[in-house]
């Protein structure tokens, strides 16, 4: 039986808004299709495991972010290689920012990211908080909840994850949300994002499985009626 190895980056420091739900969604949707799943929680000072099929990292508060920055930079090359090879990856909020080029704090200090996603983030004057709906060419309508003060700008060649329908997105200005590079998605969408957007969860699973067995063309369908209902309820809630 195929085993999928999921890497959960810094669950202690970077897990503000129920991101555990993202891991659980990947795990269950794989198990329901007969795959075995192994989740490794990666903490500061650990060694990265040998097998990594999917990478996930969540958001954290400022204190959490400052605890992991150095450790993340120490593993930048390994993570970059994995992404370049096509490893599917989802990073939300805080780790989305740190997967970019830099984060500039309110007092002008630049914290270097690991430069995987071509984005730059600058601390903003207020928090952008509320329900958000975006449109993505690959995944259609995506719903979530955002809560961030960092304002992110994409480099000219970069591809956003989606276009903002309602909410703020990357910066509340240019209607872009997140970034998409190879199979790596960075986004501000909490919610958590995967349970109510099963297409996105299945994209990560399919890419991971295809890297193990190129003959796999698609995943067995699941009954997603509750997922899609919760999605449509969320899309209609006030900001």
């Amino acid at each position: 039986m195929t085993t999928l190895h999921i890497l959960h980056l810094y669950p202690k420091e970077m897990n503000l808004y129920g991101d555990h739900g993202n891991i659980l969604t990947l795990k269950k949707r794989a198990e329901w299709r007969g795959f075995r799943v192994n989740v490794t929680e990666y903490h500061v000072g650990d060694q990265l495991p040998n097998h990594i099929d999917i990478i996930f990292g969540g958001g954290g508060q400022d204190s959490g972010q400052s605890k992991i920055e150095a450790d993340l930079r120490a593993h930048a090359t390994e993570l970059k290689t994995l992404i370049e090879q096509g490893t599917p990856c989802l990073v939300v909020c805080g780790l989305y920012q740190l997967f970019g080029e830099y984060f500039q704090t309110g007092d002008g200090q630049k914290i270097a990211g690991i430069n995987i996603l071509p984005v730059q983030t600058v601390a903003g004057p207020k928090r952008l908080i509320g329900n958000i709906v975006i449109n993505s060419p690959e995944f259609g309508e995506v719903v979530g909840y955002e809560n961030h003060s960092g304002l992110t700008t994409l480099a000219p060649q970069a591809k956003p994850f989606g276009t903002v329908v309602s909410g703020a997105g990357n910066n509340g200005n240019d209607y872009t949300e997140g970034a998409f590079y190879k199979n790596c998605i960075g986004t501000y969408l909490h919610g958590p994002i995967l349970p109510k957007n099963p297409r996105l969860a299945d994209f990560l699973l399919l890419k991971a499985l295809q890297r193990k067995d190129a003959s796999i063309k698609k995943l067995a369908p699941l009954n997603d009626s509750i997922e899609l209902h919760a999605h449509s309820v969320a899309a209609k809630r006030p900001r």
Binding site: H20, E41, H43, Q61, S63, K196, R237
Partner: protein
């Protein structure tokens, strides 16, 4: 000036009441604006001072426990009703009680204030005692980040003139500093039942520091029989309160009362604690037709987790009601930080985010019989589903709404 404020405030109160707006904070607002010293002057006259109870979970029931314990020791206690836990709400509550001649016949004020309002309160009125229960994730759309919440509570602790009572088992609360601190805690045996906010996030990482001595420690809890260690001596107490978190918060209440009245014998406090019940919506039993339904407020992952630890069994049927109004928090992602595996199954998921709840349960592979957003319809389905005893877990506004439907009238 004081007399003018009282007359002004009471007049506004009469008018708002006539207009059917009983719980309005408007009278408080009018007085707060016209006489900023009113609160400080009125509460500053109380011989035993002002007590503030704050933290994320358990404020309402703990305030009730402290107030009743002090009353049983013979003190006249002024307290604010739940829902008026901000500065002008406290002023409104005072206006309801103060005499026109300015006489305010109480010994001590025991006030429930949430973290942000507790800081604002301290800025306008000195406080003598404080009890800080915990810092958990609650309404992140309002407070932003929990480290920020801890900073707010640090300000409250710093401003406390006499004694600040702290929860030893919450890492963010334990490290608060004040002029004089006293701790309440749990025996090592019970500590695992209480996940701190950090424990909820990761199962493979724990860092425990050496703990200070607790003045009052919850040693064990068997059903509703609790053993408290007070100053190194064990006391058994048959509680009317249900749930491990209430038993633990009672330890904080005991430590606080012991600080305020050091001469009150521990055995007397323990005996009186036994007769105190929880606040509304916090485990109270309601009658709906010929059925008894227990209503349990769940505002955030830690409260929900603790409630499940105490109240998830195979002898009850369950309904869960999740609203996402501003008072509940618009963000419902916290549901994914709760582990529901203790629940046998759920009869009805309800509230504006009923489907989010059903979805969450699906990923813990727990069956949900009915998803019905409308609470009144959901209650009908739930009560008609069986004759078994029932429990409802509900967010704040869902709890108020359910109570209103069951009792047939508004409570606030």
């Amino acid at each position: 000036m004081e007399k003018f404020s009282i007359i002004l405030g009471k007049t506004v109160q009469k008018i708002t009441k006539l207009r059917g707006n009983g719980g309005s904070a408007l009278p408080g607002l009018v007085v707060e604006r016209s006489n900023p010293q009113f609160l400080k002057k009125t509460l500053g006259r109380l011989p035993r001072g002002v007590v503030v109870i704050s933290g994320t979970n358990g404020k309402t029931t703990t305030t009730k426990i402290v107030s009743e314990l002090l009353e049983k020791q013979g003190l006249k206690v002024f307290t604010n009703k739940s829902g008026s836990n901000f500065v002008r709400g406290v002023i409104s509550a005072i206006l309801g009680d103060i005499k026109l001649n300015g006489s305010f016949d109480y010994d001590i004020a025991v006030l429930e204030l949430d973290e942000a309002h507790a800081v604002k309160f301290c800025e306008v009125c000195p406080i003598d005692y404080s009890l800080i229960l915990n810092v958990q994730r609650d309404q992140l759309d309002r407070f932003g980040e929990i480290d920020h919440t801890a900073e707010l509570l640090q300000k409250v602790a710093k401003q406390t003139r006499q004694t600040c009572v702290l929860n030893r088992e919450d890492p963010r609360v334990q490290k608060l500093t004040a002029k004089n601190t006293v701790f309440f805690g749990l025996s090592s045996k019970l500590q695992d039942a209480f996940p701190s906010d950090d424990d909820l996030l990761s199962k493979t990482s724990k860092n425990k520091t050496k703990a200070p001595t607790a003045t009052v420690c919850l040693q064990s809890l068997d059903g509703q029989t609790a053993v408290y260690k007070i100053n190194q001596k064990d006391y058994r107490c048959q509680l009317a309160l249900k749930g491990i978190y209430n038993a633990f918060n009672a330890a904080g209440a005991l430590a606080l009362c012991h600080s305020i009245l050091p001469k009150a014998p521990a055995s007397t406090l323990i005996e009186q604690l036994g007769g105190i019940t929880s606040a509304f919506g916090r485990g109270e039993s309601l009658h709906f037709g010929d059925q008894t339904i227990e209503l349990l407020l769940v505002k955030n992952p830690s409260a929900f987790q603790l409630s499940l630890t105490s109240f998830a069994d195979k002898d009850h049927d369950y309904m869960i009601a999740i609203n996402d109004k501003v008072a509940d928090g618009r963000d419902v992602s916290w549901l994914w930080n709760v582990d529901f595996l203790r629940l046998p199954r759920v009869k009805v998921a309800s509230g504006s985010r009923a489907t989010d709840m059903a979805l969450r349960l699906k990923y813990d592979e727990i069956d949900v019989d009915t998803v019905e957003e409308d609470l009144a319809t959901a209650l009908k389905i739930f009560s008609a589903s069986s004759d078994r005893p029932k429990r409802i877990f509900a967010t704040y506004t869902a709890m108020l709404e359910i109570r209103k439907i069951i009792s047939g009238k508004s409570i606030l």
